[in-house]
């Protein structure tokens, strides 16, 4: 029996018992629909995630910290080499490095509000970086800082922050407006007057604010909670005013001077007022945190994802600093996606298992019904192999059709899911993403898989049919 005969007979035999074939195929269809839809969604979400990571430049970025961490991200040394401008200079000369930027966190900033009238403050800070032409933020609205721009009192709002303070629908509207960055209580940075040293506690606990003009809003993504400012402004914010009180020796001297004044007054019998004493007055000290301790971190942007690990290793070994790449983080995320995919396809797999039992059932029935036909075929020269092939082929066809229609149905479902998801995403300011992508290997794989399931399910009935005694088979009515 040739393959063409097999197809012709197989199709005809399935058509002969339409209702039963269709029902069996539906069972396979449900299983494969589940597998296809769930896998496509899992892959789609993963791709969207990776795309976000890529467009944010995080995949090619190394974050250098002065603390050194081991593989499990446990700090080995918390105070390593300070991160200096010399280091930045040297990093930028390394192979494959396209841009280097210092990173300054603005711890003094605690929250943000839309304007002075709006009392609502949201927990938020800002990151100061340097903006090179190769090192630009992915923006939804407005502009990036120009390379070298000092950019005092200007900010690129994080997408998430813009949403919170009321620019959910229209991030463009935020550009050009003024926002307020509030400091924690009692902070006195470079722009603020220090209260008198003997001021009331009330005055010390005042929180101050920086005004900033919004020049841009970032695209949504994993880092959408961060606001960006220039490194110059960030360094300024980190520069604090403090009182330095005289040390014990000086205090002792003043005390002695005052004693002399008191003794003299006693001798002369003069009434003393407070002004007559030498006061203990603290000195105002301006402390540049960054100049003293180095940068919080350095971003090193590498030309290609493949070179990231090597460059990171080189930096760690050469400078005794910690170099963190997104790779481990990405790997962990990808692992999670893989597990989710496996779990989801297992759920579909259970449906397919049930469908396989359905195929066995259908084929056992078919063999019983067609006993006489099997006898006839054997009498005119069909071998056991011919009979076995015919029935396994029919079972395979059930799986094949189920898989094919399931592929269509599953893909259709993800298209619907895609529309809904994109609706939601665009509502939240995300750019449109195509989740419903059908990789060719998934299409072929699913149909091949259900076909193989069909063939395996058909094996038992087919072997039974092949072993049938032709004399008994022909006698059957």
């Amino acid at each position: 029996m040739g393959f063409a005969d097999l197809i012709r007979r197989g199709l005809k035999n399935l058509w002969r018992r339409k209702a039963r074939s269709v029902l069996t195929i539906i069972a396979v269809l449900i299983g494969s629909t589940a597998v296809v839809a769930l896998l496509i969604l899992a892959f789609g979400v993963r791709d969207v995630f990776l795309g976000q990571m890529e467009s944010s430049g995080m995949l090619n970025r190394i974050t250098v910290r002065s603390s050194v961490e081991d593989e499990d991200q446990v700090e080995i040394e918390d105070e390593g080499m300070p991160l200096t401008d010399e280091m930045i200079d040297e990093f930028s000369r390394l192979n494959h490095v396209i841009a280097v930027s210092p990173v300054i966190q603005t711890h003094p900033i605690q929250s943000i509000s839309k304007n002075e009238d709006d009392a609502k403050q949201y927990y938020s800070s800002a990151v100061g970086i340097e903006y090179h032409s190769e090192f630009q933020l992915n923006l939804l609205a407005g502009r990036n800082f120009k390379p070298g721009e000092e950019g005092y009192n200007q900010v690129i709002l994080g997408n998430g922050v813009a949403k919170k303070i009321g620019y959910k629908e229209n991030p463009e509207a935020a550009v050009g407006t003024e926002v307020l960055f509030h400091t924690w209580e009692g902070y006195d940075g470079i722009d603020f007057e220090l209260p008198k040293h003997d001021a009331e506690e009330e005055e010390w606990r005042q929180s101050k604010f920086y005004k900033a003009t919004v020049i841009g809003v970032t695209a949504p993504g994993p880092a959408e909670g961060d606001n960006y400012i220039t490194v110059d402004w960030a360094q300024r914010i980190r520069t604090t005013h403090n009182y330095q009180w005289p040390d014990k020796e000086e205090e002792e001297q003043i005390r002695q001077q005052n004693e002399v004044i008191m003794e003299e007054a006693e001798r002369t019998g003069r009434e003393l007022t407070e002004e007559d004493f030498v006061q203990i007055i603290p000195e105002v000290v301006i402390e540049d945190d960054i100049a003293e301790k180095g940068y919080d971190a350095i971003y090193v942007q590498v030309d290609d994802t493949q070179n990231v690990e090597a460059v990171a290793q080189g930096i760690e070994d050469g400078y005794g600093v910690g170099a963190i790449t997104a790779e481990e983080f990405i790997e962990q995320i990808l692992n999670i996606f893989t597990i989710v995919s496996i779990v989801l396809s297992a759920i579909g797999g259970i449906a397919l298992l049930v469908a396989a039992v359905g195929i066995i059932n259908t084929m056992v029935m078919a063999v019983m019904e067609r006993t006489r036909e099997i006898g006839i075929m054997k009498a005119v020269g069909a071998s056991r192999k011919d009979i076995r092939r015919l029935f396994t082929f029919e079972a395979g066809l059930l799986g094949f059709w189920g898989g094919l229609f399931g592929l269509g149905a599953g893909f259709g479902l993800t298209l619907i899911a895609d529309i809904i998801a994109n609706d939601q995403l665009s509502e939240q300011g995300f750019s449109a993403q195509n989740i419903a992508q059908l990789p060719w290997w998934l299409g072929i794989g699913v149909v091949a898989f259900t076909t193989i399931i069909g063939i395996l399910a058909g094996l038992y009935p087919a072997i039974r049919a092949a072993r049938m005694n032709p004399v008994d088979a022909l006698r059957r009515e």
């Binding site: 029996m1 040739g2 063409a4 005969d5 005809k12 002969r16 006489r372 036909e373 006898g375 006839i376 075929m377 054997k378 009498a379 005119v380 020269g381 069909a382 071998s383 056991r384 192999k385 011919d386 005694n469 032709p470 004399v471 022909l474």
Partner: protein, 220 residues
Amino acid sequence: MIELKKASRIYTLGGETIKALDNVDLSINRGEFLSIMGPSGSGKSTFLNLIGGLDKPDSGQVIVNGVDITTLKDKKLSQFRNKQIGFVFQAFHLQPMYTALENIMLPLEFAKVKPKERVKRAMAILKMVGLEKRAKHKPSELSAGQRQRVSIARALINEPNILLADEPTGNLDSKNGTMIIELLKNIIKQREITIVMVTHDPVMAKMSDKIINIHDGRIK
């Protein structure tokens, strides 16, 4: 040349042992038209099934054209049935879903004949049995006599050298029955073929060259 040597076939049915064939020795010459007669359950059909390779004896040999077919494996045995044997059954055993033409072509599928060649050969055989105008009819649209002629055509399509007919006229009236026997006699004239026919109709049996009687699994 067909030879049975001490061929026995024993069934157990409901705990009872039935000797369908008991140490049968027989040889049939090429080109013979042989009738086998005997009452129901005498072992006639078992005899045919052994010669046709549908059944195997419990002991003894069945030698067809010099080959002991009891030793053949399934692949060779099915080829033997396909190429050297043509079966005609009392109940016709046609496939109801397929047309006369398609029914006739069935053995050619297992002989791996090309589709075009199949149709050519099947039409020629249909013409021989006088049914070329019924090629597209399904068995349900044919009379009993026509159905049996289709089944004879199917048996002959692969040009076998042995035709085994198990009560071919059993489901037919005498007019149609006679027509079938005449057809078989014509075939034997035109082709080099041996026909073994099981029947319990003495009128039909008389039209053959030779009659053998079987009783309780033994040749009388």
